[in-house]
């Protein structure tokens, strides 16, 4: 099994604050890696550094053998690392289809017709095909989260970084979302790193989980081990529960 994305000693300081402190992680091809931790643990900063929108103070990021540390976001995306946002950011002035087309045109290297075909096919995959000519404002939150994922998928990524795509939707929709994520891995052959607060989803989806607390990596392993880990419990619930 080969590593598709690898981060070595990533750190990010904002002034005196160490938002992320010496975090290393490896994503194996065809796997889903969970990145969890309490609010403010540095998950989003970690994502930003992996996806290129923030350059790390120290440490390196590799996509396969290629170093992508500090590349601008659009280069990382074209290279195959694409992120979604916890608070969805659809292009409100474009139709759902056009949202996907922008991504496909910019990242896939296909021509006009090819990119449109990819976008159409991606929307079908994500279950949005019927509404492709509508504007994102008409979608429910779950729908917009789906669009956020579809748009990222239209980039034809090797690695998808999903930032809390399940939190906030109702249980039935969450179930569908879990299915969709599994299909992205299996049918699209995309490796995934996801942050998530819904632990049930993490348990079902992730083969491995790494836990951040206060910017530091405090545990890594299988989900079942992680939830037993005293340090992890302490991080979430406080010392006396550990």
């Amino acid at each position: 099994m080969s590593a598709v994305l690898r981060a070595d000693g990533l750190s990010k300081r904002f002034g005196g604050l160490k938002a992320v402190d010496n975090v290393s992680l490896t994503l194996d091809e065809g796997r889903i890696l969970g990145l969890i931790g309490p609010n403010g643990a540095g998950k989003s900063t970690c994502f930003s550094m992996l996806a290129g929108s923030t350059s790390p103070t120290a440490g390196r990021v590799f996509l396969g053998d290629r170093e992508i540390t500090g590349l601008p976001a659009f280069r990382a995306a074209r290279g195959g690392v694409v992120r979604t946002h916890q608070i969805v950011r659809p292009f409100a002035n474009l139709t759902i289809f056009e949202n996907a087309v922008v991504a496909a045109v910019q990242c896939s290297g296909l021509d006009h017709a090819g990119a449109r075909a990819l976008a159409r096919e991606t929307l079908e995959f994500a279950g949005l095909a019927a509404r492709r000519n509508e504007y994102p404002a008409g979608l429910t939150l779950a729908g917009r989260k789906r669009l956020e994922m579809a748009r990222a998928l239209a980039c034809a990524p090797k690695v998808l970084l999903l930032d809390e795509v399940i939190a906030g939707v109702n249980p039935a929709e969450a179930q569908e979302m879990v299915t969709l994520i599994l299909r992205i891995r299996d049918e699209r052959k995309v490796s995934i790193i996801m942050t998530e607060h819904v632990m049930a989803a993490v348990m079902r989806l992730c083969e491995r989980v790494v836990v951040l607390d206060a910017g530091k990596l405090i545990a890594a392993g299988e989900p079942k081990e992680i939830v037993q880990n005293p340090e992890v419990i302490a991080a979430y619930l406080g010392k006396k529960h550990a």
Binding site: S53, F74, A77, R83, H85, F91, V101, Q106, A154
Partner: protein, 324 residues
């Protein structure tokens, strides 16, 4: 025979553009009214400038109040090139345009990180600073006494076709910038510049490209304007009122639409000719009232009005840029 057209070109649009141009190009052969002939020449220059302004103001949602800086620079550089270096007119225009485009990049590249109102405010500063420097830079502009260009017999008459070509190029560019895949990327940037980068749009480079094109086209317009009047003066070329006029054309015609600003330019030029003749002291206020009415009741201007008449909703045009 099938023309090798890019897939985003609607044949109907191409035919419409070609037919309009052909009709306008042949028009002067059918009438001999010099007043109308010259008014059309100025209208064409206005159309090209308004469209160029709209690439930045409409497509990217970055409203510039300082485009006269490039208009003036293009005009004076072209004049200088023609007079001192003996450059042929059209080359001088292009040279002026390139310099103007580069100047737009110099101030615009750092400034474009600002979004919405902040960018607009910065452009006021840029425009006014350029005007002041231009007014006192004798070597380039001739100072407050201005610059006279060489007069060619019949030039003013033939400029009609040059100006028409300019407007046609601007129109085609407007269409291409909007309808090609680039257009979607620009709309994405307008909506959310960071999210656009996250899906592979090279936001900075595209914004710079649009800025350069917009500045260069406005510069060429300034150069052609200079050739038309054969005398230019910095207070007029760099004037704030000039920058405002493109804002008005864009807003009246329909900001962010493909052809709206051209419509706005036509209305603007005609209105000005009529108003200056009849009510020279009222035209500024009337533009103000027009601006207020359009913003309050029809943010997409005349284009929005006609779409409304045709009962077609276009939310893609209404949403304006995000703030950071």
């Amino acid at each position: 025979m099938k023309l090798p057209l890019p897939p985003w070109v609607r044949p109907r649009a191409l035919i419409a553009l070609l037919a309009t141009c052909a009709a306008l190009a042949l028009g002067p052969l059918l009438h001999s009214d010099v007043y109308i002939h010259n008014l059309l020449t100025l209208t064409f220059i206005g159309i090209a400038a308004a469209l160029a302004w709209n690439w930045l103001g409409g497509y990217l949602g970055q409203v510039s109040f300082g485009h006269a800086a490039m208009f003036g620079l293009g005009g004076f550089v072209a004049a200088k090139a023609e007079i001192s270096m003996g450059m042929p007119m059209v080359f001088a225009w292009c040279f002026g345009g390139v310099i103007a485009g580069l100047y737009a990049l110099v101030w615009g590249h750092p400034t474009l990180r600002l979004r919405g109102p902040y960018f607009s405010i910065a452009t006021i500063g840029v425009g006014e600073a350029t005007r002041l420097v231009g007014t006192y830079w004798d070597w380039l502009t001739g100072g407050s006494s201005g610059t006279s260009l060489p007069m060619h017999p019949n030039l003013k008459f033939t400029l009609y076709w040059y100006a028409l070509a300019l407007a046609a190029v601007a129109m085609a560019a407007s269409y291409a910038l909007r309808r090609s895949s680039l257009g979607l990327a620009l709309l994405a940037i307008k909506s959310d510049v960071d999210a656009a980068s996250d899906v592979g749009v090279s936001s900075t480079r595209l914004q710079d490209l649009v800025l350069f094109l917009s500045g260069a086209m406005i510069g060429v317009c300034g150069a052609s304007y200079g050739s038309y009047f054969s005398y230019i003066e910095p207070g007029d070329m760099f004037g704030f009122d000039r920058s405002i006029s493109w804002v008005l054309m864009g807003v009246i015609g329909g900001i962010g639409t493909i052809a709206g600003p051209a419509l706005g330019a036509i209305i603007f030029v005609l209105l000005r000719q009529y108003l200056i003749a009849s009510y020279p002291q009222l035209y500024l206020g009337l533009y103000g009232i027009l601006l207020v009415l359009v913003i309050l009741f029809e943010p997409l201007g005349l284009t929005g009005l006609s779409l409304r008449v045709l009962r077609r909703a276009r939310p893609d045009l209404i949403v304006s840029g995000s703030e950071t």
